[in-house]
Symmetry: C2
Subunit: 380 residues, 2 copies
């Protein structure tokens, strides 16, 4: 499909894998975490700080960008990389998930989905072909097929219908994506809810069509973590070893470790920035709610041993004050802390897998979280 | 009064002056612009970016900090420099101006001012002695006397009473400030509204008491620019040449050039960050309202020739999009652009005064603003 896009598996450790994805805008080391740049901005964080955190690839939201400022406008301005001043790899989703979660009204037919924009109420049509056109205009390095997402729990019949529709859309997407510039890749998305048989059918259907990478979609939509991990484990094991695997919209640091252990290579999630804006910092010692009164006089930084300057250079008392005072800098600093934390967690995972000790790494990380969890129980 | 604090006049050009203030936390080149860190944060801007803009000194607001998180707490955490992670010079105001503009209720007596906190409704007393104690606890390099500010226009009798009260408070402040660590300086504040006789009396009274620096207060509170500049010109001329002169709370780039021409050395103002958050960028070509629709497709940066990365590296279309989408990064980037602009304006003024061509410099800056003012009239 492309000259520039490739995935190379470097090492495996049980089901866990480390590798590298090469794109026209640079290399992505896996397992990789992709910060979310919803509206062409990782909320509250300067792109230089996103890069400094170690992020090698960002996710952009097709749904948001097609509505505002529009894919055509971004294309006219040189594409999403230039628009955001992010000259590194970008993955765009297809918009399907946001249509489900944000549009106040939507109608799904064989042709595609028609929805009401949450911004101005206009009716907008998103077909597989239009989803490809939008992502080609945005110029992302990795595009995602249009799929139908549904919340769980759902009736098996509905899940099956959506999964099969998503397969037919996958085929149309692949055809429509043939017009994309060389070097760009389109990923298929496995659907099938929490039904193992449907997930297996979806994998087979997608592999028959053939994609340079596969995502596991339709999870973290209401099911328990154990259900999610079971589906992830079975699905990842069924996917071709030589293609990258991307678990969409997941998750907490614990989710990431579990999914890496099951063979997932890529993640995206708004948690680092959303929790950061709400005053929750991810640290080696577990989450810390900086708004808690006990931080008001604490001169210690969040973690003096971290490479992240925001974690080292500001006292907990100061961060607490910023949140109490409604100063935007607080959310920015904690978002940076969290972005660094996620990247360091993945960098550690890559090194551990390379050294054949991922289970130990994962255990050590958890032990540290738990050691402090009792001490700081009021932070939960 | 202090070992470390000093002011050295380097050159004059007409009434305009360039010099340097030495403090225990570093040197400040004058004319200097001080960004405002109201609640121990320059709103929306990382301290590294504030420093990168060229700022050599920040202003902290005593009123805000004494109410939250409290001067005692900041002192316990090592002082305001450590608290904010700003190891460079800091000036704190005395709280008098915010008592006037923010407190929902206040009562002024000979002893001091009692006001209702705008945060929790508590009654708070601020005397000259307490204003000194608070600023000593904060650890600022330059403290300001407590004064009584009033809005203009005001009755001459009221202005005279407030000016004389401020003089008596100046004396009490000086006495109370004797307990401050060596190297810290206390400035007196000239009051007297728009009455030249009262201003002259205020200057005489303050100089009799004797301060290492003098501020011109009670301006930019409702009077016209020409009234303000007349008062500034006469007051600055009456102040001792060997002491720095600080015009409080002023102002626009044009105000700064005019006041520098009249012999002012220091400024503070919230305009760079406030206007930045509201989508207005200060540029060589005058103010640009980035929310204006005509920027939606403009691939040009705000100013490709500026040293400020935020002015060079992001298109107007992108900045426009960030504001239209409510992304906080927009306000942050424009605040940075404006902080750089103010610092570069002052750096240019310093160089021009040193070269004996400040009038030409000022004229060239204005010419550039005006050349584009017609073209971009819709930005006003």
């Amino acid at each position: 499909m492309s000259d520039a896009f490739s995935f190379r598996l470097i090492a495996t450790d049980g089901a866990a894998r480390t590798g590298e994805i090469t794109t026209a805008h640079g290399v992505v080391h896996t397992p990789a975490f992709m910060p979310v740049g919803t509206q062409a901005s990782v909320k509250g964080v300067h792109p230089d700080d996103v890069r400094a955190s170690g992020a090698e690839i960002l996710l952009g939201n097709t749904y948001h960008l097609m509505l505002r400022p529009s894919a055509e406008r971004i294309a006219g301005l040189g594409g999403l990389h230039a628009f955001m001043n992010w000259p590194y790899p970008i993955l765009t989703d297809s918009g399907g998930f946001q249509v489900m979660s944000l549009a106040p009204l939507r109608k799904i037919t064989e042709e595609g989905v028609t929805f009401r924009s949450h911004l101005d109420g206009a009716m907008v049509e998103l077909t597989p072909e239009r989803a490809m056109q939008v992502q080609i205009l945005l110029g992302s390095d990795i595009a995602m097929q249009l799929d139908e997402c549904m919340r769980l729990p759902a009736e098996r019949g509905d899940v099956e219908r959506a999964m099969k529709l998503s397969l037919r859309w996958a085929e149309r997407c692949k055809r429509a994506f043939e017009g994309a510039a060389a070097g760009r890749a389109l990923f298929g998305i496995v659907q099938g809810g929490d039904d193992h048989k449907l997930r297996a059918d979806s994998v087979r259907g997608l592999v028959d069509i053939g994609f340079p990478g596969y995502a596991i979609g339709g999870l973290a939509v209401g099911e328990t973590q154990s259900v999610m991990l079971e589906v992830v484990g079975e699905t990842a094991a069924a996917l071709p070893a030589q293609r990258p695997r991307y678990l969409m919209g997941v998750g907490t640091p614990a989710d990431l470790l579990e999914a890496v252990a099951r063979g997932v290579d890529m993640f995206d999630c708004v948690l680092p920035t959303r929790n950061g804006r709400h005053g929750v910092a991810f640290t080696r010692f577990g989450p810390i709610n900086i708004k808690n009164a006990r931080h008001a006089d604490d001169p210690q930084p969040l973690d003096a041993e971290r490479s992240c300057p925001a974690a080292r250079n500001f006292s907990r008392a100061y961060l607490h004050h910023l949140f109490r005072s409604g100063e935007a800098l607080g959310g920015t600093l904690l978002s940076i802390v969290n972005l660094f934390y996620y990247q360091e967690l993945m960098a550690g995972a890559r090194a551990a897998i390379g050294a054949g000790r991922f289970a130990d790494y994962s255990g050590e990380i958890r032990e540290q979280w738990n050691a402090r969890a009792d001490l700081h129980a009021e932070d939960d």
